[in-house]
């Protein structure tokens, strides 16, 4: 087991290193954005002196590397700083928004992951059948349309024509759990349609890839039923690639929601990011980006660890 501990620790260390590099890239990237918040807030009429004074007040006159180090040091102490636009603590802003985004991602994941895995397993079981082709065509077309298009189509049919779901996913903390789920069904469905294809096709491919192995032939020659062969004999050995693709898609559910949140006016992190960019509210943009990066890294780390654990050779050493 100590080997596994070592591997996990190694991955964790690499994850932290990645996060550091990402923080640097985020800072530099934001630095390159055109525009200036002081100018933006004070408007065209402000004199150069007032703008300069305001910049000093915000600490924007310091050289970039000093600002980066100050930002990093504060971050390590859990202080994201204050929003330049409205002076509120960023951690406060993030808190609600992040939970909302995670909530939406969770609802989408609960629908999409089991659906994708089931479809993938069934497609592998009935490979090259009509069912297999139909599933492939449907998932591929849903992934091929832009997200906003899928979103508007869903709104058109489910909100406008049928009226079963609200087209605006306006949620707040006072709402009951059920009500919240109900309100974010449409964005969750949109996300599901976007991520299912990838996960389903990887599941199918990973399983089919194993069907030529001698142990699958052995299972067939033991007279086992095809469903059992796929689920008991192929699936456990296909877990590593499936876990990885699921993790990437879960990360996308958190990170890739920007457009979907805007379309459904959902008060999540994506909305916050878009608003902050348009306001040149740099510290908020940085904080959001960092949260997104952290999600990616954490989920991929988790996938790494889980795929290690899914390998019996590592779990049960000689």
């Amino acid at each position: 087991m100590s080997d596994i501990g070592k591997m996990v620790a190694q991955r964790l260390g690499l994850g932290l290193l990645t996060l550091f590099v990402v923080s640097l890239i985020i800072f530099l990237g934001v630095e390159l954005l055109p525009g200036d918040i002081a100018q933006e807030i004070l408007g065209q009429a402000a004199t150069e002196e007032t703008v300069a004074a305001f910049r000093r007040e915000l600490g924007l006159n310091l050289p970039p590397h000093e600002r980066y180090i100050a930002w990093l040091v504060n971050l390590l102490q859990g202080d994201f700083g204050k929003s330049l636009a409205n002076k509120r603590e960023i951690s406060e802003l993030l808190d609600v928004r992040l939970w909302n985004t995670l909530f939406l991602a969770a609802v989408a994941a609960v629908i999409s992951v089991p659906l994708a895995l089931t479809l993938g397993i069934l497609a592998a079981l009935y490979r090259n059948s009509i069912f297999d082709r139909a599933v492939n065509i449907m998932t591929l077309s849903s992934i091929s349309f832009p997200e906003f298009f899928v979103a508007y189509i869903l709104i058109l049919f489910l909100a406008v024509n049928l009226g079963v779901f609200p087209s605006i996913s306006n949620i707040s903390e006072e709402l009951s759990f059920g009500e919240r789920v109900y309100r974010c069904i449409l964005p969750a469905l949109t996300l599901t349609l976007v991520v299912v294809a990838h996960m389903m096709r990887m599941t199918r491919a990973a399983i089919i890839n194993l069907l030529a192995s001698p142990y699958i032939e052995m299972a067939r020659l033991k007279g086992l039923k095809p469903g059992r062969i796929i689920v008991k004999h192929a699936l456990p050995n296909a877990l590593a690639p499936i876990i990885n693709v699921v993790a990437i898609n879960l990360a996308y559910l958190v990170v890739g929601v920007v457009i979907v949140e805007v379309v459904f006016v959902y008060p999540g992190l994506g909305q916050l990011l878009v608003d902050s960019v348009s306001k040149r509210d740099i510290p908020v943009v940085q904080a959001c980006s960092l949260v997104f990066a952290m999600t990616y890294i954490l989920l991929n780390l988790l996938a790494d660890v889980l795929s290690i654990l899914s390998n019996p050779r590592l779990l049960h050493p000689r």
């Binding site: 030529a212 192995s213 001698p214 142990y215 032939e217 052995m218 299972a219 067939r220 020659l221 033991k222 007279g223 086992l224 039923k225 059992r228 008991k232 004999h233 456990p236 050995n237 019996p312 050779r313 049960h316 000689r318």
Partner: protein, 551 residues
């Protein structure tokens, strides 16, 4: 059904036949056409009888074995004939009917147990699957039964071994565990598909004994598929010799082995009779290559300890041992792929740099290698011209027309027609031809020493014999020295001048061939030599008796 009932069934005449295949035809799909690969073979198997199917690769023996279960691999189909198992025609049976028979009444033992056991499940879970799924017995009963069978197959710790994962068990033990798994439902028929081919000789003999014993105990009928006539003559009551999907000869084991009627069977029997004529003692004191007290490890795992050997000019040193004995690692140290932690390698008395990166091009040129798997040792995208031409350019700076002429010359040396072969891709060559190309590539560098790492192990016996003869002729013509790594003692007997026996990273015994092969032997050499199957149906029983007596 108990043994007594089976015996009475046997005397019943017709009903004692468990399997009949009549006019069996099987097709394989390749190049967008169906080709017939088994051309109307008849097989009859009585209850409790062991029938050996023997032939080289492409003979269709595995395909026929699987057809006995009504099964054809992907890309194959049963295109004609009847397969009647206990009154049921498997060619007409539905998928559900076939599934009900497989695993319960007809079972299969695969060539590589390591690959045929699912790595994700414990042995006993895989054992219990067939009896539980077929509704023959509940899990608890199956588990108890598994432990009993593990014991009968002489597996160590029969109560506990089933709870291990396949990778935690050795190859020979896995093969016995697979035999136990096949026995789980007490089938009427077991198909053994080369069950010992992937094993070392000393392990093979244990597995053979265990299989023979258990098949007799339960009076199970078996199809025993192998390419090794010596092995099959230990196991089978009757033998069918197959070639290119046709029956060559069929008969009781003893007559087939002692008095074969067909030339092909005689060739198979005569294989391994090639012997290199003895040579004089080496001249000069300085060997061409000297391995001096080499100790090496992969990471922290020690692989070699204190290995020394000499290879003299124009001589063949056979390094023999079982898997994991360090033979190939020694070659890796010599070639500089694995720097040793202690000791050194001398070439004509001069120390070679431990790593190949720091050796001169000329030092690299004089020492060439031929590998076990010709399929993976040559680039499938290159033509023969480029494969052989590359070392000419690289080592000797031969280009243009001169290179072309030299490639043709090399092809003639390896007995392939240059006009026919020079433009081919590896995919258009047979296994033996590919290995010849590998030999030509090694020769192109004009080496003095060639390391041959199991070069004949992946080849059919008759093809392997041709390759050995070719290597011998090249040695005589060009004065090459060979380091011949092999696990096969028959090859050693054929080609060696000197023998180095290795075990667990150490040299156990070394010396001239005559000395090593004449008693008294080192204990381990004795074990190795006595484990090589002989073409005598009584060999296995005799060896087991001798060994039992010795203990």
């Amino acid at each position: 059904m108990n043994a007594e009932a089976k015996t009475t069934a046997k005397t019943d005449g017709q009903s004692d036949v468990i399997l009949t295949m009549r006019g069996l035809r099987i097709e394989g799909y390749a190049d967008e056409v169906w080709h017939e690969i088994v051309h109307g073979v008849d097989v009859t198997l009585r209850r409790g009888e062991v029938l050996g199917l023997i032939g080289e690769s492409g003979a269709g023996k595995s395909t026929i074995g699987l057809a006995a279960m009504g099964f054809a691999r992907d890309g194959c189909r049963i295109s004609g004939g009847q397969i009647i198992f206990d009154g049921i025609d498997l060619t007409k049976a539905s998928d559900d009917e076939l599934r009900a028979l497989r695993g319960s009444r007809i079972a299969y033992v695969a060539q590589s147990a390591a690959a045929a056991f699912n790595p994700a499940h414990r042995l006993i879970d895989q054992y219990c699957e067939a009896p539980v799924q077929h509704g023959i017995m509940p899990r608890s009963e199956a588990e108890a039964d598994a432990k009993d069978l593990y014991g009968r197959l002489q597996l160590p710790d029969p109560d506990g071994i089933g709870f291990r994962y396949p990778h935690q068990v050795s190859g020979g033990q896995l093969q016995r565990a697979m035999t136990a798994m096949a026995m789980a439902c007490r089938p009427d028929l077991i198909v053994f598909d080369e069950p010992t081919t992937a094993l070392d000789v000393t392990t093979q003999i244990e597995v053979l004994a265990a299989i023979k014993n258990i098949v007799q105990q339960f009076d199970t009928a078996a199809l025993y598929i192998t390419h090794d006539l010596a092995v099959v003559s230990q196991m089978a009551d009757r033998i069918m010799v197959l070639r290119y999907g046709n029956l060559v000869e069929e008969g009781e084991t003893r007559p087939i082995v002692e008095d074969p009627q067909k030339d092909y069977t005689r060739d198979l029997l005569a294989v391994r009779t090639f012997r290199k004529p003895p040579v004089d003692e080496p001249e000069g004191d300085i060997p061409l290559l000297r391995v001096e007290n080499v100790t090496a490890a992969y990471g922290k795992v020690p692989v070699l300890s204190g290995v020394s050997m000499d290879i003299h000019e124009k001589r063949t040193v056979a390094v023999v041992g079982e898997s994991g004995s360090g033979k190939s690692t020694t070659a890796r140290v010599i070639t500089g792929l694995l720097p040793p932690s202690e000791g050194r390698v001398l070439y004509e008395g001069q120390a070679l740099d431990p790593t190949y990166r720091k050796r001169s091009k000329d030092e690299l040129r004089r020492l060439q290698m031929i590998y076990q798997m010709p399929d993976t040792a040559i680039n499938p995208r290159q033509r023969v011209r480029d494969i052989i031409g590359r070392p000419l350019e690289f080592y000797l700076a031969i280009r243009g027309e001169e290179k072309e002429a030299r490639v043709r010359q090399l092809l003639q040396m390896i007995e392939l027609d240059p006009d026919d072969f020079i433009d081919r891709h590896p995919g258009e060559l047979s296994g033996g031809q590919k290995q010849r190309i590998c030999i030509a590539r090694a020769l192109a560098a004009e080496p003095e020493l060639i390391i041959c790492d199991e070069v004949t192990s992946a080849l059919d016996q008759l093809v392997a014999e041709e390759i050995l003869k070719l290597l011998q002729r090249l040695q005589d013509d060009l004065g090459l020295a060979y380091m011949f790594i092999t696990h096969d003692l028959a090859t050693v007997k054929a080609i060696a001048d000197e023998i180095v026996v290795m075990l667990a990273g150490e040299v156990v015994e070394q010396g001239p061939k005559q000395e090593i092969l004449t008693p008294p032997h080192h204990e381990y050499t004795e074990l190795l030599l006595s484990s090589v199957p002989e073409m005598d149906p009584d060999w296995l029983d005799r060896v087991l008796e001798d060994r039992a007596a010795a203990i």
